[in-house]
């Protein structure tokens, strides 16, 4: 009796699958995404550099600048300017000394603390509002669109309850997926910061967007910091590119009859 019921259920299920298959069609689509920023006035882009901090295993300024330049070269219509990466941390320090008006015998302001966490970045942020500085950089490079910002790449450790799904079968052979909670120690990295887009003609900020991505692994897994950095940046790149240029996102959808 039970076997007959199971086979009946199976055949009904199979019939439903056939009906579903004949009434639906998978189709590839490409969704065009308009850029968030109108960059028609610019032909060139300068990825100037970043205020970076966190782990010393990755040079956030150098790696981010290099990665964004290579992405823009292949995926945007703007011409990418090759130049030395700006040491923005030094510029921020100098800016503070200038602001303190420390001429004559006045002592210069003490150097800013190294960036280890989010709050350390705040002391450096004033450099992005320095219109004169960015205007000067713009003039030097023939008034391009300037990309800069902050990058904080820090190690992360969490002991947490992780929920995963587990398949179970009841006495009728029916499959069920039930959530199972286990306690795990996890390690990984967090990538926080902001992309800032500056008009090289005026030095004014055109647009800025913050980001936060995290990745966690099982504690016994050893993943190099640089690999994690690229994995996290990989998630941010589509959003970054869609600020400057139209993108087409490929995918598939199901048409129904």
């Amino acid at each position: 009796m039970i076997a007959r019921r199971v086979s009946l259920l199976a055949s009904v299920g199979a019939a439903l699958v056939v009906v579903a298959c004949t009434n639906s069609f998978e189709i590839p689509i490409e969704t065009p995404i308009r850029p968030k920023l109108d960059v028609a006035a610019f032909q060139r882009v300068l990825v100037a550099g970043f205020i970076a901090g966190g782990t010393e295993d990755v040079d956030g300024n150098l790696e981010t600048t290099r990665l964004l330049r290579s992405q823009l070269r292949t995926k945007s219509e703007l011409r990418v300017i090759d130049s030395d990466v700006l040491p923005l941390q030094d510029v921020a320090n100098e800016g503070r000394n200038g602001d303190s008006g420390g001429g004559g015998g006045a002592a210069a302001a003490p150097a800013l603390a190294p960036i280890k966490e989010q709050k350390d970045l705040e002391a450096y942020e004033h450099v992005f509002a320095n219109v004169e500085y960015w205007k000067r950089i713009g003039e030097e490079y023939q008034q391009p669109l300037i990309v800069t910002g902050t990058v904080l790449f820090t190690p992360l450790q969490r002991n947490q309850i992780v929920q995963r799904e587990q398949e179970v079968y009841d006495s009728f052979g029916r499959r069920r997926v039930v959530p199972v909670r286990t306690y795990q120690e996890r390690k990984g990295f967090s990538l926080d910061g902001r992309f800032i887009f500056i008009d090289g003609r005026s030095g004014a900020t055109l647009h800025s967007e913050s980001f936060n991505e995290q990745i966690l692994y099982n504690a016994n897994q050893t993943t190099p910091a640089l690999s994690s950095y690229f994995e996290l940046m990989d998630r941010l790149i589509p959003s970054f590119l869609s600020t400057l240029s139209s993108q087409k996102i490929k995918g598939t959808r199901i048409l129904l009859q």
Binding site: S24, T31, S242, G251, R253, I254, L256, Q257
Partner: protein
């Protein structure tokens, strides 16, 4: 009273084939839309699926397909509205839900 009930029954009986006709007509438009979309003629597909939703506004599949076509054309606001209409009509349809989730992922990325 009895006459009124009889009238309602007659109207209901008359309306049933009309609704079935509307669904049949809409289904023809939907099927044609699918065949042209598969050949990359998305504008024509949009026209067909818009016609289908005008003929039978309760046809969830037509709204779903229209949403996909709008998405393909980059009209994300219209795509969202069409997906939401399709889900309103068939809240339990897993395929529409799946399409909508994929759409939302892209839409969220652009508004982030």
């Amino acid at each position: 009273m009895r006459t009124a009930a009889l009238l309602i029954a007659v109207l209901a009986l008359a309306a049933a084939p009309l609704a079935a006709d509307a669904r049949d007509d809409a289904k023809k438009q939907v099927e044609f839309g699918i065949s042209v979309a598969q050949r990359g003629l998305w504008r024509e597909a949009i026209y067909r699926w818009e016609r289908a939703t005008q003929i039978d506004p309760t046809y969830a599949a037509a709204h779903n397909n229209l949403a996909i076509a709008y998405e393909h054309e980059g009209d994300l606001a219209k795509a969202r509205a069409a997906y939401e209409k399709a889900l309103e009509l068939e809240p339990g349809n897993a395929l529409i839900k799946q399409n909508y989730e994929l759409f939302k992922e892209i839409n969220d990325r652009t508004t982030r």
